[in-house]
Amino acid sequence: MIRLNLVLLLVAVLSALAAVTAQHRARGLVIDLEKEEKTTQQLNEEWRQLQTEQSTYAMLPHIENVATRRLRMQVPVAGQVQMVDGPVRTVSRP
């Protein structure tokens, strides 16, 4: 009888310790998760910033400026444009 009780006591102590470790590990994981979520947020914000940056650089006035000044390109006049009727219709409505 005493033996059984001792075994049960041991089991109880072990499970209590296991519960504590599990709790501890869970907290560690939550901390990691929290960190990752913060990173997600930061990356999201960076992405938004990059997007605005991209659209600022891609602004038509800017591109037009580069094309006409630096690359010395010009819009072809109507007579210089050759309309091609291909088998694939690339003319699409936006």
């Binding site: 869970a26 907290r27 939550v30 901390i31 929290e34 947020q41 999201n44 914000e45 938004r48 910033q49 997007q51 605005t52 659209s55 600022t56 891609a58 602004m59 038509l60 006035p61 819009v75 006049v77 109507a78 007579g79 210089q80 444009v81 050759q82 309309m83 690339t90 003319v91 699409s92 409505r93 936006p94």
Partner: protein, 576 residues
């Protein structure tokens, strides 16, 4: 030696004293026991809450405001992170040198900073809101105890002044207050959520207890605007307003098949990213909010009503010889008087007399029905706050002279958007299309106004306007048939027509064989000599149409004179 023998040890205590102490002890322990039971049993909820306060926190879960994009997904309004500099006054201490540096970094007066941060204040004070993150980082580098940053967001508009009137703006807390930002606020606005967590000693979250409210991220809104067309329209409009020294100008580009607004620009405009220089008069979306008397751009509707009556065809001859039509005390005159004209010629040369004669031969109710069902006098409902509906009076109150002047666009007020929308009647089979500022994915049905035959006849006649002999040869585009109508109206100033102030307009459709685009241009008070719609507004429409048709790859409906292309070999040779 028993103790009894020692007299000083044989003191006998009275029995009541022992009993008294015993009772005190029993009472004391009972008291403690009862109290313990009370706390444990009756008040445990309050006490647990008190305990939780020591380690549990409620955190806000941020939600972003949605983006506004153009029809191809180009960002037009984006929330970007900014930092607000706050001070917890109970932790705050600063040296004079640091204060000077701080004021310099924040662009504030050192004395003002000192006043804001006087030590007898408590709580939290915000020194400056919405700093760019890099600048905020420099503030933190000063390492002043008590200073902290709070992450917030503000709207950034990459397109700047090109599209500011449509987008509107938000207040400092990101609530929409004007334009699309206001109209679509319900969809754009995010709703922050909150959750309860347990924090450890180091302030790290160690347990997620519950989500009190899930955050709702703001939804993106796609506009019908095409940023490329918008830019072309804005550039050409701005050039024309500068060239003709005009007070203001507006332009609207519509997709005539879907009713989507592809471009909408006004001059003067403002930069939404710099709110310090904000002026209400520059922020007005004139194309939607302002009303004007359209003048001759309204004539096609009178003529369409005449064709619909069955009493006129484009070849019917109208008595316009002499170029003057006396009506009571007034005389209606033509700018370019000539002989009698056909209905087509009346439109092509924009004859007031011819139009008035046609209008007077129709019942006033028919003319009213035509104008009203073309959308004049009603708000166009494109989804913008504060749209104007214009004024179209009840036909029962029309006098003869009013019916005559209204036929060529006087005594009626319209917005440029209404005028552009009305022209959708001539584009397809005679239907008025509902307009929108939001991207449409499904085709919409229009409201029938005139017969398909009348719509086609009107398109044919409107093409003559841009031909030699018409009022707007400058509206031509190489390779495309352009139909359109000019308007030059004297502006009303204090109830009288000002002799030297004009509203010059042009509405064009292209390609006229199967219209895809409508461009409406209004130049307000051109003052550099030219003022006719055909001289001032038509070239803008032509340039915008040329650019837009190219961008949209619309096949030309006129033969183009060929210029020989340089051969590929030559081109490569030059490069090397």
């Amino acid at each position: 030696m028993s103790p009894d023998r020692l007299p000083h040890l044989s003191l006998k205590l009275p029995v009541w004293r022992t009993r008294f102490v015993l009772v005190c002890l029993i009472l004391g322990f009972t008291g403690l026991g009862v109290r313990a039971m009370y706390l444990q049993g009756m008040e445990h909820e309050d006490l647990q809450a008190e305990g939780a306060k020591r380690y549990a926190r409620t955190l806000e879960m941020p939600a972003h405001r949605g983006m506004i994009t153009d029809r191809h997904g180009e960002p037009l309004a984006v929330s970007t992170p900014v930092d607000s500099v706050g001070v917890s006054l109970w932790k705050f201490s600063i040296t004079d040198a640091q204060r000077k540096q701080l004021a310099g970094l924040l662009g504030l007066d050192p004395a003002e900073v000192a006043k804001k941060l006087s030590p007898d204040q408590r709580g939290v004070v915000f020194l400056k809101r919405h700093l760019p993150p890099e600048q905020a980082a420099r503030v933190m580098a000063l390492d002043v105890p008590g200073i902290f940053l709070q992450r917030e967001h503000r709207r950034y508009y990459p397109a700047g002044d090109v599209l500011s009137h449509v987008l509107g703006y938000t207040d400092i807390d990101e609530h929409g207050t004007e334009g699309i930002e206001l109209a679509q606020d319900g969809q754009l606005a995010g709703r922050p959520g909150s959750r309860r967590v347990i924090k450890d000693l180091k302030g790290r979250v160690v347990e997620d207890v519950e989500r009190v409210r899930a955050p709702r991220q703001g939804q993106d809104v796609a506009l019908s605007i095409d940023l490329k067309l918008q830019y072309i329209a804005y550039r050409e409009l701005k050039q024309a307003v500068t060239l003709h020294k005009a007070k203001a100008g507006s332009i609207v580009v519509l997709d005539s098949e879907s009713g989507e607004i592809l471009a909408l620009a006004n001059v003067p405009t403002f930069n939404p990213n710099n709110r310090a220089k904000y002026e209400p008069s520059r922020a007005r979306n004139r194309a939607l909010v302002d009303l004007f008397e359209p003048g001759s751009t309204l004539k096609p509707f009178t003529i369409a009503a005449a064709l619909e009556s069955g009493r006129y065809t484009p070849q019917t001859v109208i008595q316009t010889a002499g170029g003057a039509l006396p009506l009571g005390n007034h005389v209606i005159r033509d700018v370019h008087a000539g002989g009698n004209m056909t209905v087509s010629e009346v439109l092509q040369r924009s004859s007031n007399v011819g139009t008035a004669r046609m209008a007077l031969s129709l019942p006033s109710h028919d003319l009213w029905t035509m104008l009203s069902s073309s959308g004049f006098g009603t708000v166009p409902r494109v989804g913008f706050p504060g749209e104007a509906g214009g004024r179209l009076r009840d036909p029962k109150s029309w006098k003869q002279i009013e019916q005559a002047t209204m036929s060529y666009g006087h005594g009626i007020s319209v917005s440029l958007m209404q005028l552009a929308r009305a022209y959708t009647v001539f584009c397809g089979d005679g239907e008025l299309m509902p307009l929108t500022l939001l991207k449409r994915t499904d085709p919409v049905a229009g409201v029938p106004v005139v017969s398909a035959k009348t719509a086609l006849a009107m398109r044919e006649m409107l093409q003559l306007v841009t031909q030699p002999g018409g009022t707007a040869p400058k509206a031509q585009v190489v390779g495309y048939r352009v139909a359109g109508k000019t308007g030059t109206a004297h502006k009303l100033v204090n109830g009288n027509y000002a002799p030297d102030r004009y509203a010059s307009s042009f509405v064009g459709l292209a390609p006229a064989s199967r219209p895809r685009l409508i461009v409406a241009v209004l130049i307000d008070e051109p003052s550099a000599g030219q003022h006719y719609g055909g001289q001032v507004a038509a070239p803008v429409a032509s340039a915008v149409l040329a650019g837009a048709l190219r961008v949209l790859s619309v096949p030309p409906d006129l033969p183009i004179p060929r210029t020989p292309l340089p051969s590929v070999v030559d081109a490569v040779g030059e490069e090397v």
